[in-house]
């Protein structure tokens, strides 16, 4: 710290203090990664199964309903169930129609700042918990391919907005279904809640907060963007909650639609 050392680079390789152990934490630091791994793994298994089982994803006119699973909306393949197709479709797509679209919501969540925190910790152990050694020989963070692609988050955010709009359209349609006309069924509420949670997840996104107003230097000079920023900032503080809630609920929505479409349960009319 004297004059001679000034303006020099950091000296590497100093001996560190304390015992040479991965961590001295005695609390249950492993609990959070375990929970994260459990939920994310369960979701991946379920969504993979769902995506590769293109049946019962749409409860249509035959059941007097118009409910589509969020995993299959918009349904873009010629193989899509009757009534579930979007305005245009691809001829001859041999695989499940879910595979045409899932990349977008998946990419949005994969590059999400919150999920990055969670899976870097839980799956990659980088680090598994704070002040617990990360065990990797080298580390380059998000500076190289493929992780440099995390910078594309905002494009997935834009795509996510399109999907939110489509799922909102699905939810609105669920207020006027073939069997009942105008009315509300449990399925209506499920689709509506699903769309709402997805909107909250998107709007609370860090990229959204930045694009709304976070990027300006002077709020005083940009009052409208300041107001937008003030609106999304409290949402952003709860991004984690919305991330989990919307993730779990999107799967539950798929489960519900499948149960109705397969005839296992009846979609009750509420009013």
């Amino acid at each position: 710290m004297s004059t001679t050392e000034r303006a020099t680079q950091v000296v590497l390789g100093g001996t560190r203090g304390g015992p040479d152990v991965p961590t001295l934490r005695t609390d249950r630091w492993w609990l959070q990664p375990v929970v994260t791994v459990s939920i994310l793994t369960a979701f991946v298994i379920y969504s993979t199964w769902s995506a590769f089982n293109p049946h019962n994803y749409y409860a249509g006119a035959a059941l007097g309903r118009d409910l589509i699973s969020p995993f299959y909306s918009p349904c873009l393949a010629s193989s899509c169930a009757a009534g579930s197709r979007a305005g245009f479709f691809l001829q001859g797509w041999p695989l499940s129609p879910a595979l045409l679209i899932l990349i977008f919501p998946l990419g949005f969540r994969l590059t999400c700042y919150y999920y990055r925190r969670s899976y870097y910790r839980a799956f990659w152990w980088s680090p598994p918990a704070c002040a617990v050694s990360d065990k990797h020989a080298t580390y380059s963070g998000e500076t190289r391919f493929p992780l440099i692609m995390q910078n594309a988050h905002r494009y997935f955010f834009y795509a996510g907005l399109v999907f939110n709009a489509l799922l909102t359209y699905d939810a609105i349609r669920a207020f006027h279904q073939p069997g009942i006309g105008w009315g509300v069924t449990v399925g209506t509420l499920v689709l509506t809640l699903n769309a709402t949670l997805l909107w909250l997840y998107s709007l609370s996104c860090h990229a959204c907060r930045h694009l709304c107003g976070g990027q300006v230097k002077s709020f005083k000079a940009a009052p409208i963007r300041y107001r937008l920023w003030k609106l999304v900032t409290p949402l952003n503080a709860r991004h984690m909650n919305f991330a989990w809630a919307s993730l779990i609920f999107v799967a539950l929505t798929d489960v519900y639609v499948r149960l109705v479409a397969s005839g296992a349960i009846t979609d009750l009319r509420l009013f």
Binding site: M1, S2, T3, R6, A7, K220
Partner: protein, 602 residues
Amino acid sequence: MTYEHHEYDVVIIGAGGAGLRAAVEAKQQGLSVALITKSLLGKAHTVMAEGGMAAAMGNVYPEDNWKVHFRDTMRGGKYLNNYRMAELHAKEAPQRVLELEQWGALFDRTKDGKIQQRDFGGHRYARLAHVGDRTGLELIRTLQQKVVSMGTDVFMECKVLKLVHDLEGRIAGCVAYWRATGEFVTFSAKAVILATGGSGKSWKFTSNSWEGTGDGHAMALWAGAKLIDMECIQFHPTGMVWPLSVRGLLVTEGVRGDGGVLRNSEGKRFMFNYVADMFRAETAETEEEADKWYDDHTAGRRPPELLPRDEVARAINAEVKAGRGSPHGGVYLDIASRRSPEFIRRRLPSMYHQFMELAGVDITKEPMEIGPTNHYIMGGVQVDAESAETAVPGLFAAGEVTGGMHGANRLGGNSLSDLIVFGRRAGLGAVAYVQAGAVAREMNMAEVEAAVAEALAPFDAEEGENPYDIQRDLQEMMQANVGIIRTESELLEAAAALDAFSDRLKKIKVKGGRAYNPGWNLATDLPAMLAVCQCVTRGATLRQESRGGHTREDYPNADPTFATFNLAHRSDGGNWDSPIFTERSPLLPIPAELKALLEEAH
């Protein structure tokens, strides 16, 4: 012996607000500058300052100007001030505050985008530029970042032991040691600026950090400079009293400035009973009148809770003595019943956390228990107001280590502005001195060797006392005998006790090695602590009156015959155990036009 050695134009000892500001100035003038601090950079006691820095910018009350600020400062200091320092301070503070924003400071704002100013005790108008309740941190960080961006050489955790002269008696540098290794290091300098801060650590209950050991006071004394007004010590009225572990920790005056009031165990706002004649005309008489004032200073007179700190501290002391104190020997500071939780959390975030985390008290719901704590020493090195030069050629001083600016009592908020006004002036003073050319050439190595030998002596002792025991006893003795209220018998007892401490200091035994040894570091602090205690006790004994931060039970009133001089201490011999002499040093006569300001009725 040969030591690691460095040569600079200007060496600044202390990296708080004053030292950093001096470094900016000297560096800007193109000199080579070394900044030496016994802690890490940015940790100095300045970070503890909370409420704000006083500057008559008139952003909230356009009626405010330097003349009112000057008058407030002099009245607060009970006219013992060096008027010229108070005048320069009042005039230059606004510019010093504004320039901080050029370097990155972000003060709270008024609606029209100017720097917001808050009310504080003894200031007629809302005058304190602030950032919530962490203004000191903002000041030190701003100046630290400025100093670093200028490429200044900073020597951290390097403790200066003594100043060194040349053979002609000019300051030629200093000798220090690296805390990390215990190795000695010498600095030769054409000019040295002392900016070492205060000395509260010699008392048991203090808001000061471990650094406040009076190193600069003592080094100046030993180097031949004079210390004045050492008996004038500010006991801040609001320090935490519970839990014991944090007793003395500061509670910002901003709590009162923002509407907090003091109550005794009966729930009564007792300050109305303690308004001195001097302040009666400008202080509210009823709670209704006082409460109107917060929103509009023209609708009522000031609440008595915002009297200068010496008045409030004495009143709290009296209430506790009269049996109307809180369970842990303080009184209540209540903002919970007067302001909304949101307001409190926004305006006083550190206080909220401090009480929540350390005392388990939610200040938005409950009152705080507080009592006086040793906070600041008004006394210190006597300097020239313009150049900050001491009586020793080549030695300059700025900040809390100096005396004169604040007289017998400092107003809240005047300390941070003092640092930047006189830090800059000390920098300029040192530059002018260096450029004039009559500077020291070589250090008297005999002084270096003596200081090194003295520092190492505690290792050689076969057996001796633990320095921590001596420190604890010294703190308890000073707290008991030279506290907020003093009396002759106790002061004489203290003087005798200090002689005994002087003997104990010669028999210290330090365990362990030299590398980062806190026991050894304390052993090197103790001579300075003792020197400060001796000057304080001598001054307190000789000033047979009560004035500002000096209250005598046996002489409860101010005596006009004592209003004409400072008590100045000097050392004969320059060693820590050399005898100290005390003499009267007449105050500078105040020019008529400034005198008129003081006498103006308000």
